[in-house]
């Protein structure tokens, strides 16, 4: 087997080796290279304990023998190859399994609490340890989306969007464990499928089956009861118990031709929405106009935005995860396609602290952990669910969550995050 000249480097200060080229057998694989690095580190530092490494050749993860990888990537074997090594991302370890009464439609977790929406018309609050804390009931229909708005000490604001065309703004006191519906946001004429709060927590945006996006204020106002437009109902027999004060939208953004499936805030002035009309649109909230349209060829189910790499990831019904640059003006430019799912991709989520990693859930019952540097195959397949996966989430403290039609919410501890974050 031919020998290759390789130089190893890393950005992690703990594992730096001498910057000299080594001659390596072309057929060596990741494990062999990892042993080499470990040997070098041991020679340098006697107290070194064995660490598994992963290797990047020109920004692509090495998954096959080095020579075949270079051949497929078209890298010359004549020169010295620069190989970057990083500590291997360990598999996510399943931690908790939280049983629900019905399908889980949405999940949103922060450092302490997990909020889930379910098809049993309730939202639930769980501790990260998996203890049920609170059940938020009030909707008359299936809860489609949930999100935390902000937390001030013990009181938290949370939003639930439902098929009953309303979004409810709740206030939850974790100490007293009391939840109170503060506002009932009316205005949509279809099922509200998605809701998202802006980074400051003062506004939120909702997308609905009625093709509209609406911007609402997320600030609970006790005294200022919003005036309700009753419309032209002759005899209003509004017998429904009024949950909280009715709130009307600040702004309505129309432009989509089909149901809006996912919205998010790129920053405090920009909203991005994905729709069944095969487009992703970027809206300016200040002026309320559409800035960019990214056109795909299939229905978009979900989008996620990473401020670290400034990329949009979209999951669509043709089983692909696509990465977009939302700032391109010409639109419809797919940077990368991640293909491995065999069903609709129903949820994607970027890692909050890692610019390359994202997690996706699909109707094929799988949750996959991706690294954009290895676009051919995911890093890990998480096959915990027995039915369709509808939602995934990823917290800043390294917790991955996924829920689906098997009524189970799984949490996984993802340890590599910290070391990577440190790197």
């Amino acid at each position: 087997m031919s020998q290759l000249q390789a130089r190893f480097f890393t950005e992690n200060k703990r594992y730096i080796v001498d910057d000299v080229p080594f001659s390596i057998p072309g057929g060596s694989e990741v494990q062999d290279l990892s042993n080499v690095i470990n040997k070098l580190l041991e020679a340098k530092n006697a107290s070194h304990s064995k660490v598994e490494f992963d290797f990047l050749v020109r920004g692509q993860f090495l998954r096959t023998a080095l020579s075949t990888h270079m051949e497929t990537e078209g890298i010359s074997t004549e020169e010295v190859v620069e190989i970057e090594y990083v500590e291997r991302i360990t598999a996510p370890e399943p931690e908790e399994c939280m049983m629900h009464d019905d399908w889980i439609s949405a999940v949103h977790a922060d450092a302490e609490w997990i909020l889930t929406g379910s098809y049993d018309k309730t939202a639930r609050i769980w501790s990260v340890e998996g203890k049920p804390v609170m059940t938020v009931a009030g909707h008359t229909e299936v809860v489609k989306d949930v999100t935390w708005v902000k937390r001030d000490g013990l009181t938290s604001l949370l939003l639930t969007a439902s098929l009953d065309q309303t979004v409810l703004l709740w206030e939850w006191n974790s100490e007293r464990n009391k939840v109170k519906a503060r506002h009932c946001c009316r205005g949509h004429t279809g099922s509200v499928d998605t809701v998202s709060t802006d980074p400051t927590g003062t506004k939120f945006c909702s997308g609905s089956w009625d093709k509209m996006l609406k911007i609402w204020s997320a600030v609970p106002t006790d005294e200022a009861d919003e005036v309700e437009e009753p419309g032209d109902r002759p005899r209003k027999k509004q017998k429904t118990q009024q949950l909280g004060l009715t709130r009307t939208p600040l702004m309505t953004l129309s432009g989509h031709n089909e149901a809006v499936s996912s919205v998010l805030w790129c920053d405090s002035e920009e909203v991005c929405s994905a729709s069944w009309d095969h487009t992703i649109r970027v809206w300016d909230i200040e002026t309320g106009v559409m800035k960019t349209t990214l056109t795909g060829s299939k229905v978009f189910n979900c989008i996620s935005y990473s401020p670290l790499c400034r990329r949009l990831a979209s999951g669509s019904t043709d089983r692909h995860i696509r990465l977009w640059d939302p700032r391109t003006k010409d639109g419809s430019l797919v940077l990368l396609s991640l293909t491995s799912h065999t069903g609709w991709v129903t949820a994607v989520k970027w890692a909050p602290l890692h610019e390359h990693q994202l997690v996706s859930g699909s109707l094929d019952n799988l949750v996959k952990l991706w690294d954009t540097r290895s676009c051919k195959a995911p890093l890990y397949d998480v096959a915990a669910h027995e039915d369709k996966v509808f939602c995934v989430d990823w917290t800043e403290n390294g917790l991955m969550l996924s829920g689906g039609a098997d009524n189970k919410l799984y949490t996984y501890r993802y340890s590599a995050c910290q070391t990577d974050a440190g790197a």
């Binding site: 399908w103 439609s105 098809y119 299936v142 009953d164 065309q165 004429t189 279809g190 099922s191 089956w209 009625d210 089909e258 149901a259 069944w276 060829s297 299939k298 229905v299 189910n301 019904t317 043709d318 089983r319 069903g343 609709w344 109707l363 369709k388 509808f390 039609a405």
Partner: protein, 771 residues
């Protein structure tokens, strides 16, 4: 010794000869021979002397002496002399007269020849007596180079080796060396003379006639002997030994070493300078134009040319197309005069042959048997048969059939690749499970958010499309035959056909305002429609449990309802009760006024399904074999489409209203272009079993057919606004997923209203979504 013998010879000659050959001659000869013996110089001298005296004689002499066979020579010399005399005589005669003088001479000549013959005979006999050894010594004495003469050429006559017939008509036969004529011997030997000669002359057998000189020559014994030897294939020379011991000039052994071991010359390797010089000279000459390279003859002007160029092309074509007449088959055993017995007719065959029409007969004759060829009579039908043959050849034109070679691939129409016709559903995405019986009918809400399915398990289920979540289950208490979502987006209503009842069901999903509008619509007419009793159906308001489930109205029919279909506006509803015997098969209900009416007075066949035109007031009614289109305003039939199939199962109308597809139980799908024809524009036979459902997409150019073979076939069907352009129909995808249960596969198929997705319901109690 030799001299003696010759002398003796001479003497005998002298004795025999008494005529013109004088003694002088022999004396001269003798003297010469003596001279020969003595000295050459003398001989030459004497020769010269002789020449001075008489050249002629000298000539003769030399000849005679030269030759081995002196006897012949002698006779020759005689004749020469005679010739001379003859010539003289002739000259004289020419001066005088011909006739008598000539004759006399001829007579003289005859006697002469006889005499000479005799003398020669004698001479040869004497020669025979001599010993052979003497002869050899004689020959040795003769100097062959003494005289300049050829041994082949007889130069007594100078005409050369020519056919002597050329001199046939002349009195002479050539010229001697002096240029004088050699006259023919006057010989008038008739047959009698010949005979007598033959009888009397003992040497006749060896007498030959010399054409060249016109003399008879008697061969000597040596000559005869020579002739005999040659005839036997032996050498002419008696003394020649054919079998002398061989002397090897070269050894016969093959030697291992070459004769010479000299290396090849250098000049054999290098080009010859002389040749080079020659070539360079020629090259120079060519360059200077002194030598012209041989010119290739130009044949274009027509040493060889196409004989047929000027020919009339049609004539040539005719020749090309000529076909030789087919050959008549060779006669077989039946035609034999003595055929094997199995070829002879039996009585039945004979009777049959007699009965048959001449054109039907297998054989145009009766095989007959004759004991011998002699007894075969003339063929009585010969002329007739020839005539028929000619008639056949004349009346049956022989033509070369121009066969068109068509690649079968070329006959397939050029269709675009399915890849270019995307989007269309390709993979199964979601399965809606929950029913326990086969699902006969499905319908998607106009918004595309909900899917309703009616099953044989007596329930109607409403599903959320995007998550396959069953949102609602309504027990209707009977097998659901047909279900249809109201196409009006302002209301949310379902029409469900259960047994003999059509249920109007409000699923209470979606927009609250829509739901309330629906409820108002259903409850608002309570007052208006109270006077409804005598109609064919009864409208029943529901209460209690059924109302809680969402069932608002029941339309009770007389018979089992097979299908329900909404008008595009959502107010009218058609229901189908197939019945052979009744004209009451189709009813149209108006929801807002709760009225029902029967549009048809006559039974035109078993109605399979009905449909409203999406835009115009037309109504499509499919019976078993055909589809009728009625104008609802004018209340008349406008068109009747022949489906070309045995039993129509389903039908759908394109969103433009100009195209109809219908599926049939005999596995076919027919596309009708209403502007084009009442016959199907295209029949597709892709399914292996009965087609159960067909559907058009509302916005995409797609249509689908569902079949009992468990597959859904998606076809691309672009419809052009241009009336001249026919629809483009391309099958693009076979979708499989449903399991075949109880020989039933897919029972219904419908498209999503906005996405290129197709739903199919099957006998395996599932609804599947393909995207």
């Amino acid at each position: 010794m030799a001299a003696c013998s010759s002398n003796s010879n001479m003497r005998r000659e002298e004795q025999t000869e008494e005529k013109k050959k004088a003694r002088e001659k022999s004396a001269k000869k003798r003297s010469k021979e003596e001279g020969d013996e003595g000295d050459e110089g003398e001989e030459i001298f004497s020769f010269k002397d002789k020449a001075a005296v008489d050249e002629e004689e000298d000539d003769d002499l030399s000849d005679s002496e030269d030759s081995v066979y002196s006897g012949l020579e002698d006779s020759g010399s005689d004749s020469d002399d005679e010739d001379d005399d003859d010539k003289d005589d002739n000259e004289e005669e020419e001066e005088e007269e011909d006739g008598s003088g000539n004759e006399d001479e001829e007579e003289d000549l005859k006697t002469e020849t006889q005499q000479t013959g005799q003398t020669e005979q004698k001479k040869t006999t004497t020669m025979k007596k001599k010993k052979e050894g003497k002869e050899v010594t004689e020959e040795e004495k003769v100097n062959e180079y003494e005289h300049d003469s050829s041994d082949e050429e007889d130069i007594r006559n100078t005409v050369g080796n020519i056919p002597m017939e050329w001199y046939k008509d002349f009195p002479h036969i050539g010229y001697n060396l002096d240029g004088k004529k050699i006259y023919k011997p006057i010989r008038n030997k008739d047959e009698l003379d010949e005979f007598l000669d033959k009888m009397e002359n003992p040497e006749y057998w060896k007498t030959i006639h010399d054409k060249q000189t016109g003399r008879d020559i008697v061969l000597s014994d040596e000559q005869v002997d020579l002739v005999n030897r040659l005839q036997r294939g032996q050498f002419g020379d008696v003394n020649f030994n054919e079998y002398e011991p061989t002397v090897e000039f070269f050894t016969s052994d093959v030697m291992i070493h070459p004769v010479t071991n000299r290396p090849a010359d250098k000049r054999s390797f290098i080009p010859s300078l002389i040749e080079k010089e020659k070539v360079s000279k020629m090259v120079h000459a060519i360059k200077m134009g002194w030598i012209k390279p041989r010119r290739v003859e130009d044949d274009s002007k027509g040493r060889y040319y196409d004989l047929w160029t000027g020919e009339d092309s049609s004539l040539v074509a005719k020749h090309k197309m000529h076909l030789p007449a087919p050959k008549i088959p060779l006669p077989s055993h039946q035609e034999s005069y003595n055929p094997p017995p199995e070829y002879l007719f039996t009585d039945e065959e004979r009777a049959l042959w007699d009965q048959q029409d001449p054109s039907d007969r297998k054989l145009p004759f009766v095989p007959r048997k004759f004991s011998s060829l002699r007894q075969v009579p003339a063929f009585p039908r010969f002329i007739h048969e020839r005539f028929e043959r000619c008639l056949d050849l004349y009346l049956c034109p022989r033509q070369r059939k121009m066969r068109v070679n068509v690649n079968p691939e070329d006959l397939i129409p050029k269709l675009p690749k399915p890849k270019d016709l995307q989007p269309f559903p390709t993979t199964q995405s979601l399965v809606y499970r929950g029913h326990t019986g086969l699902i006969r009918s499905i319908s998607v809400s106009p918004s595309g958010q909900w899917l309703a399915s009616g099953s044989d398990d007596g329930s109607v289920r409403i599903w959320e499309v995007c998550s396959s979540r069953c949102m609602k289950t309504v027990q209707v208490g009977g097998a659901v035959k047909s279900i249809s979502w109201n196409p009006n987006p302002a209301v949310c209503l379902l029409a469900v056909a259960v047994e003999s009842v059509v249920l109007i069901l409000s699923p209470s999903l979606g927009d609250k305002q829509v739901i309330s509008a629906t409820e108002r619509l259903l409850s608002g007419q309570q007052e208006a429609e109270t006077t409804e009793g005598e109609g064919p159906v009864s409208w029943i308001e529901t209460e209690g449990e059924e109302l809680n489930q969402g069932i608002h109205l029941k339309i009770q029919h007389a018979k089992a309802v097979q299908q329900v279909a909404w008008h595009a506006k959502g107010d009218y509803l058609a229901s189908v009760m197939p019945d052979h015997s009744s004209h009451l098969q189709v009813l149209i209900h108006q929801l807002s006024r709760r009225r029902s009416q029967n549009p048809f007075r006559k039974n035109k066949g078993l109605v399979q399904c009905v449909s409203f035109h999406p835009i115009r007031p037309y109504f499509f009614v499919a019976t078993q074999r055909c589809i009728r289109i009625y104008n609802l305003v004018k209340q008349e039939m406008t068109k009747k489409l022949q489906a070309n199939s045995k039993w129509i199962s389903s039908m759908d109308v394109h969103s433009s209203g100009d195209h109809v597809i219908c599926g049939s139980y005999d596995c076919r799908l027919g596309w009708f272009d209403l502007d084009l024809s009442t016959k199907p524009y295209k029949m597709l036979r892709h399914h292996k079993k009965a087609v159960r459902g067909v559907a058009y997409h509302r916005s995409y150019p797609l249509f689908a057919s569902a079949s009992d073979d468990g597959s859904v076939i998606i076809c691309h069907g672009t419809v052009y606004n241009d009336l001249l352009q026919n629809p483009l129909i391309v099958p693009v995808k076979v979708l499989k997923g449903h399991e075949i249960t109880h020989d039933l596969g897919v029972l219904d198929v419908t498209f999503h209203p906005t996405q290129p997705w197709v739903f199919s319901s099957g006998a395996d109690a599932t609804v599947r979504l393909f995207t």
